[in-house]
């Protein structure tokens, strides 16, 4: 399976903007265009800023809710958020660091410009002399030429629209995945029970293992629902199951054993080599389940979802066919 892994050109811009500031007390605020929908984007962005600026996570705030102030972002989809918002944030950090480095150099009276950021300090790579980050920010602000520790950056991925033949390098990054699935089919009821799912996925550089696991497990359960239960029923243009009682999304009780084997790679376009991971786990699932059902009973159900009724009918038809042949 191949899927976009961040920065897919579906709209004229797939970019994301960031405004970053550090206040005179060393607190950092990230105003990002990207949204938090439970995937953990806030955590990952704060982790990146902490890594780059040596500021404790507790002192970092991510603002992503107010469209009056946040810069452009196209939305949380196409497995793009860590990729584009991460790159955007790193771009803003780079600009801000140039300002901070300049001031730190002045204050430490050193001519070179290479610094490390750690434990709230800016440390000279060469001499190991250091100065508190918040102090540098204050000096920037309160001495001439007075300046704030603020930077803005807009990241636009290198991807291009598809051409007329739907070809082209449409995404900033691509994700690859394979799944092997074992199912048990109840021939009395037609129920397909997914037992084990083995997932191998190219996930780029892992930024946060726990959140990665969450994306994989959630994606897979959605994939299982897509394979077995989720269906919008229509009659004469009306939706018959417009509620989650009858539109059946699976619940935590239905989650199979998931065996996840992350394949860690280094994506040259992604922040720290990371890439999008969210959708890839749900794409191979239905096909693998359909193949497993076919393997178990030698029946083919090719329209989703593979409901118990379709399975039972396919079994009945196979029996009938056998009788006719005999």
């Amino acid at each position: 399976m191949l899927h976009v892994g961040g920065g897919a050109k579906i709209y004229r811009s797939d970019g994301c903007g960031t405004t970053l500031k550090i206040d005179p007390y060393g607190y950092c605020t990230i105003i990002t265009g990207s949204n938090e929908i439970g995937q953990g984007s806030e955590t990952v962005l704060a982790m990146m800023a902490s890594e780059e600026l040596g500021i404790d996570l507790k002192r970092i705030k991510v603002i992503n809710t107010d469209t009056d102030i946040k810069p452009w972002d196209v939305g949380v989809h196409a497995s793009r958020t860590s990729f584009v918002a991460g790159n955007s944030l790193l771009g803003a950090i780079k600009i801000l660091k140039e300002k901070l480095n300049k001031k730190a150099g002045e204050l430490l009276k050193t001519a070179h410009s290479e610094f490390e950021y750690d434990g709230g300090e800016i440390i000279s790579n060469k001499t190991k002399e250091h100065i508190a980050l918040d102090k540098v920010v204050r000096e920037m602000h309160f001495s001439e030429p007075n300046e704030l520790a603020i930077a803005s950056f807009f990241y636009e991925p290198t991807s291009k629209f598809q051409d007329k033949e739907f070809k082209g390098n449409v995404s900033g990054s691509y994700a690859f995945a394979a799944q092997a699935i074992e199912v048990e089919v109840d021939t009395y009821t037609g129920n397909v029970r997914v037992l084990d799912i083995y997932v191998a996925q190219d996930v780029g550089k892992v930024l946060n293992p726990l959140l990665l696991g969450g994306q994989i497990e959630g994606g897979i359960l959605q994939g299982v629902g897509y394979a077995l239960t989720e269906e919008l029923l229509m009659h004469e243009g009306k939706i018959l199951n417009s509620n989650f009682h009858n539109y059946k999304m699976l619940t935590a009780a239905d989650i199979p054993n998931i065996h996840f084997f992350p394949i860690e790679t280094n994506d040259k376009e992604g922040p720290y080599g990371a890439k999008g991971v969210g959708e890839a786990p749900l794409i191979p699932t239905a096909a693998a389940i359909a193949n497993a059902v076919c393997n178990a009973l030698d029946i083919e159900v090719i329209d989703l979802p593979i409901t118990p009724e379709k399975v039972l009918r396919a079994i009945a038809e196979k029996k009938k066919l056998k009788k006719e042949i005999v």
């Binding site: 009821t189 037609g190 129920n191 009682h245 009780a253």
Partner: protein, 289 residues
Amino acid sequence: MNFEIINPGTTKELLGAVNKLQKEKFRFGAGCTDLLMELKKKPEDGLTIINLSQVKDSSFSGIKKSAKGMRLGAMFTAHKIVVNEEIKNAFNVLHESAHNLASTQIRQVATVGGNLCTASPSGDIACALVALDATCEMLSTTGKRREINIKEFFIGVRTTAIGKNEVLYGIAVPANEKKTKTIHSNFIKIGTRRSMECSVVSLAYHIQVNEEGVIIKAGVSIGASAPTVRFAEEACDFLIGKKFKAISQKEKEEFAEKVLSYASPITDIRATSWYRKEVLFNISKSIFE
């Protein structure tokens, strides 16, 4: 949704409230898990809800064991059934039906009485209680108690034998036979997911076997297959006197046919009538496999 609400604290107050409202439109609310959904779909004007959950009366909300069997108050919750070891040991079908109902959260408030009085053909606890040959006990505003067998309790889809001046007070499950050695008791619920699922078809059975392995009492009922939960009497009679472990393939199928004869399922968005019948036949056979 707009309604008045009355919160009686005792059974006397409850009966008083029912008496006072005889000429008005009123409904009982127990766990309200069915009631609220219904009122949301079809709001009624000028309605009063009599909230049963504040009534302090152990006969109404507790459980009592006697030589005759077990009596559950109508307000006994699905959760309380699930955690009750005695129910699990003696009447596993009841345990399983409650365990398969909705989700942990709903089970905390959903009551046995509500499950019966809703009279849904797919009521899970109702289906188990029919297989167990339970008795429904009503209390009227005059203070009189009236008992009827659960088979007579369900009249049609969402209609029961309760009178307007009555409340369902308790449900009595008869004790297992003295000669019973082994009990085959279970609830088979067919649906597509493992929780928050309304039965597409259900089968409840409680089969008692003596020391010689012979079936001496059998209760089999079906849910979501007819306008009401149904007791498959002929299928039960068919089993009496047979050795549980020695039931032949032919007998299994004969039994399943008899169960099926009580089913007149509809086709709806959950499944077709064909599927419901097919599955009911198969799971009926599976009892002996």
